[in-house]
């Protein structure tokens, strides 16, 4: 699954909540507060990077070791809510 290319579902919007000082994911009739790492993962989901590439980029930025399983678990949880979609290959338009 780490070769799959994750992308935020078009119905969801990632934005900064300036009142509560945190990132938040907004979608129909709901919202999720995100920690900084979760928000960073979603910003890296650009339709080109695979799950493995997202984990690698995160690793390069923060030097966190072996985050791939955490990235996968986080994205899978959002996919179960219909907020993240996986493509088999990068989106040429992205």
């Amino acid at each position: 699954m780490t070769g799959a290319v994750p992308r935020l579902h078009p119905k969801a919007r990632l934005q900064w909540d300036e009142v509560r000082h945190r990132d938040v994911l907004l979608y129909p009739e709901g919202l999720l507060a995100l920690n900084p790492t979760g928000a960073e993962i979603l910003r890296l989901c650009d339709g080109r990077r695979s799950v493995a590439a997202v984990a690698q980029a995160l690793d390069e930025r923060y030097g966190a070791a072996a985050v791939a399983p955490d990235v996968t678990a986080f994205l899978d949880a959002l996919a179960a809510k219909g907020l993240v979609q996986f493509a088999a290959s990068p989106d040429p338009a992205a």
């Binding site: 009142v19 509560r20 129909p28 219909g82």
Partner: protein, 374 residues
């Protein structure tokens, strides 16, 4: 510290071409209290104040919000502020061109009601021939790329159609279907004897929902709003009074939920007199039942009080006569026998040998008459 609101329901108008007998609007919507809709500028100020206060989700509702000619302007204002906007509409005469204009203005999500899964019954419940418009608008909504929620309010006369309603939402490619069992406020309370389902109907519908959820998985989210009269414990109404949610009525009163205005023992401030910030933090209406200091027994010593917040203040007022009592649907509430009596009356009225109970359609003439009665 008091939590900030996340949700604002903007009831832009109480005018509506549909006449659904379970409408949650006040029965006296056509009376003197609700005259004088907020202007475009006033709503824009409300949205700005809401965003500054912490609101992220904005519902544009009514009545029928598309009757406001300035809807596109209001959507654009809300979008620029960074609010996630949902249009909650009957879709009566809602054209593809109007939906496209709303899309350009930045509308995020569309929720369209349907009264049943086929035209005759849907139009009979709505009291207006609207089914064809709804189907056309569903398709236009999807073609324009909006996420779509199908909303169906359930009651005795349409609960047998749950499977067909889910099938309709699936065939439309909807993201979600809300199967909202009637909550008894406003017109629904007035028409309770005609709308209340039987236990057998609910059990059958719930079996269908469980089966369809298993079949559809994440393809279609099926939201089942509990029929709270038939529950053992009350719903966590609005996630707690004054904790996350506010409603602004067409003329600017601010309520902790869309039914709270009926509680005659509370004073409600208006955005025409006060800021939303003051109303949220200081007004009697929002502070009276915030937290748990107001709770009577059996709530006060109940371990569930942090879960359900004592249930619904409106229901306590409407059924038991005092908004500060435990929600009477709770099996532990002293006033639970009133709910059981209402269910028993509905079971008798729904017996096959009984003629179908009549309801009063939600319409301006009936509303003025109910307003005059007080």
């Amino acid at each position: 510290m008091v939590a900030k609101p996340l949700w604002l329901l903007a009831e832009l108008t109480y005018k509506c071409p549909l006449q659904c007998p379970y409408c949650s609007n006040p029965t006296d919507f056509a009376g003197p209290r609700f005259q004088g809709e907020l202007t475009t500028e006033e709503w824009s100020r409300v949205f700005r104040e809401a965003k500054a206060l912490g609101v992220l989700q904005l519902g544009l509702s009514g009545g029928e919000p598309t009757l406001r000619p300035d809807l596109e302007t209001l959507v654009a204002t809300a979008h620029e502020l960074g609010l996630y906007t949902s249009l909650i509409t009957s879709a009566y005469r809602l054209s593809r061109a109007r939906l496209a204009a709303l899309r350009r203005a930045g509308l995020d999500h569309v929720q369209i009601s349907v009264q049943a899964a086929e035209a005759d019954l849907s139009d009979a419940i709505a009291g207006t021939a609207a089914y064809r418009d709804k189907i056309a608008a569903y398709h236009a909504t999807r073609e324009l790329g909006f996420p779509l929620t199908v909303n169906a309010v359930l009651h005795r006369r349409n609960l047998h159609q749950v499977e067909a309603l889910i099938g309709l939402a699936e065939s439309l490619g909807a993201e979600r279907i809300e199967l909202a069992n009637t909550q008894f406020y406003g017109w629904a309370l007035h028409n309770r004897d005609a709308l209340m389902p039987t236990r057998a109907q609910l059990d059958e519908a719930w079996r269908v929902v469980e089966r369809e959820r298993a079949r559809l998985g994440t393809k279609l989210e099926i939201v089942w709003v509990l029929p709270d009269y038939y529950e053992r414990y009350p719903k966590p109404c609005m996630g707690g009074w004054g904790r996350a949610y506010m409603t602004v009525t067409p003329a600017g009163e601010v309520w902790p939920c869309h039914a709270a205005g009926r509680i005659t023992t509370l004073r409600f401030a208006s955005v025409r007199e006060r800021s939303l910030d003051w109303i949220w933090h200081e007004s009697e209406a929002f502070t009276r039942f915030r937290g748990d200091a107001w709770m009577p027994e059996p709530c006060r010593s109940c371990p569930r009080k942090a879960q359900d917040f004592g249930g619904c203040r409106c229901q306590a007022f409407l059924v038991a006569g005092d908004a500060a009592l435990t929600d009477p649907v709770c099996s532990l509430a002293p006033h639970r026998p009133l709910i059981d009596a209402a269910i028993a009356a509905a079971e008798r009225a729904a017996a096959p040998e009984q003629p179908a109970a009549a309801w009063t359609y939600r319409a301006a003439r009936a509303s003025r008459s109910l307003a005059a009665q007080g």
